[in-house]
């Protein structure tokens, strides 16, 4: 690291004008990025990490304004610079890549042309050679068959490929600083690893500096030299990776580190650090004595399940030509069999498209299987049509908790209405007082303060919405919960609390869980047994610790190794 930083931010404060008045998004933020250094900015949602990046690159928009402090790039003032000068700088000196790469590319312009736009804008190529340069960039980011992909539209590419195109655009003009804003959120772990390795290799090769914005401490540990921890618009700690994990000084950093599930952490450890800043967490309801699970009794049995979808994209065929029946269908679930005992929890793990969500949807009878049986509590539920099953008494014994706590709540329903819905529909309860009492009891059980019950989803925080979703699911005393990535949209500290809540509920109510997730470390905390799926098939089954620490199959090994994590002992 040289003495002269490439980027320095000094005592930066940013305010936003909103309808409710001015909101301070950043306060006294200072950070430095040296030449060739990789700086991680870590924090949970609302910490101001993205706002910092947008301020630096001048994309704050009309509503935001830097009220104090300065950002300097290589001796050049960025705050207060004319838009025209910033425009010359962006893409040429400082580039940025974003999360959700598919949406971040122009949907109706071939990706090659989008790379060309950047090259031409910064006069890095002439009309004559711009196509070659764009193709060279596509090759650089290891896109197979760049000639073919040059003319592709973003919707024809996978998320990982779109992010590669974004990287190609960002690096096309050889900038000296790359800002990566959650570049791999929403991508599979193996894709995430490939993408991050690519960013690391390409930026090292060019001696570039990188600012990596992430919520994932594991990723920051794996790819950064130094880490800045932000909370509520302030920098709370700034240290080298080793110092930060071995010797965190700020309580918030300690809390974050504890809450990030690693390969050896225990559920109780996640909130081991008391929350000094926000006061004590809401008191949990008194723990009822756990109902002993009757061992050896199978609650659910899935036998030889197959689900096929018709293919739309069977390539290059005229309608009058006969289609190969094998190629006309896509087999999402391919002869899957497993069983689940009462009181047991089972993790379904795999990357997107592996069939884990399809399997869980068939179990809850939201989808009809092509072949195979699902036997729940001694009865074959696949023999009923989905509509008929909805009226069966078994239906209420299976409940779901969904991935997005916000989108899975009706925006026009208060928390109380949401929880009352299954009570009315499935239990046929009608007395207002009876329902009210039950809702209050459920709210206590999931740790949702009763005075929040009258609020609408948009007035609740992510963790509170997750609690409403859980309360709704357990309202009818189900035997089994299907949890479809219930914590992937939550901040780590909230995730920690929700995982503990789920674990406690399971013990108290003697429920079985099917926990669908892409994150092996999270699954391990909650599940006794894990099933790893790939391309519709079961790759490996075993106890959670076995699979995670001693995987038998090569695919599982790749999956486990791709998870970015930190182990303070090994740094």
């Amino acid at each position: 690291m040289t003495t002269q930083p490439l980027l320095s931010v000094d005592a930066l404060s940013v305010q936003f004008r909103t309808r409710e008045g001015t909101v301070t998004a950043l306060q006294d933020v200072s950070l430095r990025v040296g030449k060739g250094e990789v700086l991680g900015i870590v924090g949970e949602s609302g910490s101001g990490k993205s706002v910092t990046a947008y301020t630096v690159i001048g994309l704050l928009g009309e509503a935001g304004r830097a009220v104090n402090g300065a950002a300097t790039y290589d001796g050049l003032a960025l705050t207060g610079a004319a838009e025209k000068d910033l425009r010359d700088l962006r893409g040429r000196e400082i580039s940025m890549i974003f999360q959700n790469p598919r949406a971040a590319l122009n949907p109706i312009r071939p990706v090659g042309r989008q790379i060309e736009d950047v090259l031409l804008r910064h006069a890095q190529a002439s009309r004559m050679n711009v196509r070659d340069k764009a193709l060279a960039m596509l090759e650089k980011v290891r896109i197979v068959d760049p000639e073919l992909r040059y003319g592709s539209y973003p919707f024809e590419l996978s998320g990982g490929m779109c992010q590669r195109v974004m990287i190609a655009m960002a690096l096309a003009c050889d900038p000296r600083l790359l800002i990566a804003d959650e570049p791999t959120t929403g991508l599979d772990v193996t894709t995430q690893k490939a993408t991050m390795d690519l960013i690391r290799d390409l930026t090292r090769e060019r001696h570039m500096s990188v600012v990596l914005i992430t919520h994932d401490l594991g990723m920051a540990a794996a790819y950064c030299d130094r880490i800045v921890v932000m909370q509520k618009g302030r920098v709370v700690e700034s240290a080298s990776v080793r110092d930060l994990f071995v010797n965190p000084t700020h309580p918030y950093t300690k809390k974050l580190i504890a809450a990030s599930p690693g390969p050896h952490s225990e559920l109780a450890d996640l909130t081991a650090v008391p929350d000094e800043l926000e006061g004590a967490a809401p008191p949990a309801a008194p723990v009822a004595p756990p109902i002993p699970a009757p061992a050896g009794d199978d609650l659910l049995e899935v036998i030889d399940l197959v689900k096929e979808f018709p293919r739309q994209d069977a390539p290059g065929r005229w309608p009058w030509q006969k289609r190969d029946p094998e190629k006309a269908v896509f087999r999402a679930v391919d002869h899957v069999s497993f069983s689940l005992k009462r009181g047991e929890s089972l993790g379904l793990v795999g990357e997107s498209g592996c069939g884990k969500s399809t399997t869980s949807s068939i179990i809850t009878r939201l989808l009809d299987p092509t072949a195979g049986d699902v036997i729940f509590a001694g009865e074959n539920v696949t023999s009923f049509s989905a509509a008929a099953f909805a009226r069966l008494p078994q239906r209420r014994k299976i409940q779901m908790v969904f991935q997005d706590p916000h989108d899975s709540l009706n925006p026009r329903f208060t928390a109380r209405d949401c929880i009352a819905e299954p009570l009315r529909r499935l239990l046929g309860m009608s007395g207002g007082r009876e329902i009210g009492a039950r809702i209050d009891e459920l709210a206590d059980r999931v740790g949702l303060p009763r005075d929040l019950l009258t609020r609408f989803p948009h007035q609740l925080s992510g963790g509170q919405k997750a609690r409403v979703g859980i309360a709704r699911a357990i309202a009818v005393d189900p035997l089994m919960l299907v949890l479809d990535e219930p914590t992937s949209a939550l901040d780590v500290s909230v995730q920690a609390v929700v995982l503990q809540l789920l674990d406690r509920l399971k013990r108290e109510m003697g429920m079985s869980y099917i926990f669908v997730s892409h994150d092996l470390n999270v699954v391990r905390l909650l599940c006794e047994r894990v099933i790893v799926m790939n391309r519709g098939r079961i790759v490996e089954t075993g106890t959670a610790d076995e699979v995670l620490n001693n995987p038998r199959e090569a695919y599982t090994r790749t999956l486990v190794q791709a998870i970015p994590h930190f182990e303070p002992g090994r740094l």
Partner: protein
């Protein structure tokens, strides 16, 4: 490319059922008239012999299926029956008046697009500015003022008070001869004939009715442009374009506007269809000899063959316009046709 051709072919095929449906409905409608259709079609002055003649030509003395066969066969030969009020074949009447209506509609739509699209774009790029408020005002006015009122109001101001516009009586002032017919559009025909004077005169006649239609069409287009543009400007891909330092023109044009143009194009198809309907009133107000005023006269005179012909040709025009818009969208938007 091949998939595109397939999609276009599929879309063309999809138009066939609607055309067939239209023919069936227009057939059933006339047969569903209370009483004897032959009496209606023959008119009030008909005697027994002519009623029988009409009955025969309509095939009303035969079975339903056969009647339908005759009806389709007649249509295929361009035979829509005779107009009672003019005594000429309906198809001939409609064809001779269609250019007048289309010329007016296209000019009205063109005016609306020319004003509405830039207005919507400017309003979206400068939210809260005076141009945004102007956009809102025009949209509200366009939605809330009925065309016959706007038409009369424009005549009152520009013809009666100011005297700028020629008298609102048809396509051309009686002082001029209509240009030799090539396309049927007076403006184009006069230009083709090299007759600038007639061109100016026919354009002058067109301005007020076209402006009336344009004001009506402006509202949905401007509103859609503004909304689509706001959406595009707030999108992730525009953020990317800005983050790569692309010029303002590229960001607004290539990135934001081209994406925003897709929903606007869809709206355009709808608006064109509305305009065909709105035409009827505007043509009446301006004594425009188009198919709208022909249809009203036919309706008043209980000229059923003419009304039937009008309904049928309007419906076919609807289908054709929407087909054209869909085809353009299929060719412009790479994503179209994936999820059907």
């Amino acid at each position: 490319m091949r998939t595109k051709i397939l999609q276009v072919g599929r879309r063309l095929l999809q138009a066939l059922p609607s055309v067939f449906g239209i023919i069936v409905i227009s057939f059933v409608l006339t047969r569903a008239l209370p009483g004897d259709p032959a009496v209606y079609f023959a008119g009030a002055m008909a005697d027994k012999v002519s009623i029988e003649q009409v009955r025969k030509s309509l095939g009303l003395d035969r079975g339903w299926v056969e009647q339908f066969g005759i009806y389709v066969d007649n249509l295929a030969h361009g035979n829509m029956g005779m107009s009672l009020s003019t005594g000429r074949p309906v198809s001939e009447e409609l064809l001779s008046r269609l250019p007048a209506s289309i010329e007016l509609t296209l000019l009205g739509l063109g005016l609306a697009v020319l004003v509405a699209v830039p207005l919507g774009v400017l309003a979206a790029t400068r939210p809260g500015s005076w141009i945004d408020h102007l956009c809102r005002l025009l949209v509200t006015a366009g939605v809330s003022l009925p065309t016959f009122f706007t038409g009369l109001f424009l005549i009152y101001v520009f013809y009666f008070l100011l005297g700028w516009a020629p008298s609102p009586l048809g396509r051309l002032d009686i002082l001029y001869l209509s240009p030799p017919q090539v396309t049927g559009f007076y403006t184009i025909d006069s230009l083709l004939a090299g007759d600038l004077e007639t061109f100016a005169a026919s354009l002058a006649q067109l301005v007020l009715p076209a402006a009336t239609l344009g004001l009506f069409a402006l509202a949905p287009i401007a509103r859609m442009t503004r909304a689509a543009m706001l959406g595009a400007l707030a999108s992730d891909y525009v953020r990317t374009a800005k983050a790569n330092g692309l010029s303002r023109a590229t960001v607004l044009g290539t990135y934001a506007f081209r994406n925003a143009a897709l929903p606007v194009l869809t709206t355009l198809g709808m608006v064109f269809s509305f305009l065909l309907g709105a035409n009827v009133l505007v043509e009446k107000v301006f004594s425009w000899p188009g198919i709208g005023s022909f249809a009203i006269e036919a309706l008043v005179a209980s000229d059923y063959a003419a009304v039937q012909g009008f309904v049928l040709s309007m419906a076919l025009l609807f289908v054709a316009v929407n087909l054209a818009i869909d085809l353009v969208l299929t060719l412009v938007d790479p994503r179209v046709g994936l999820d059907d």
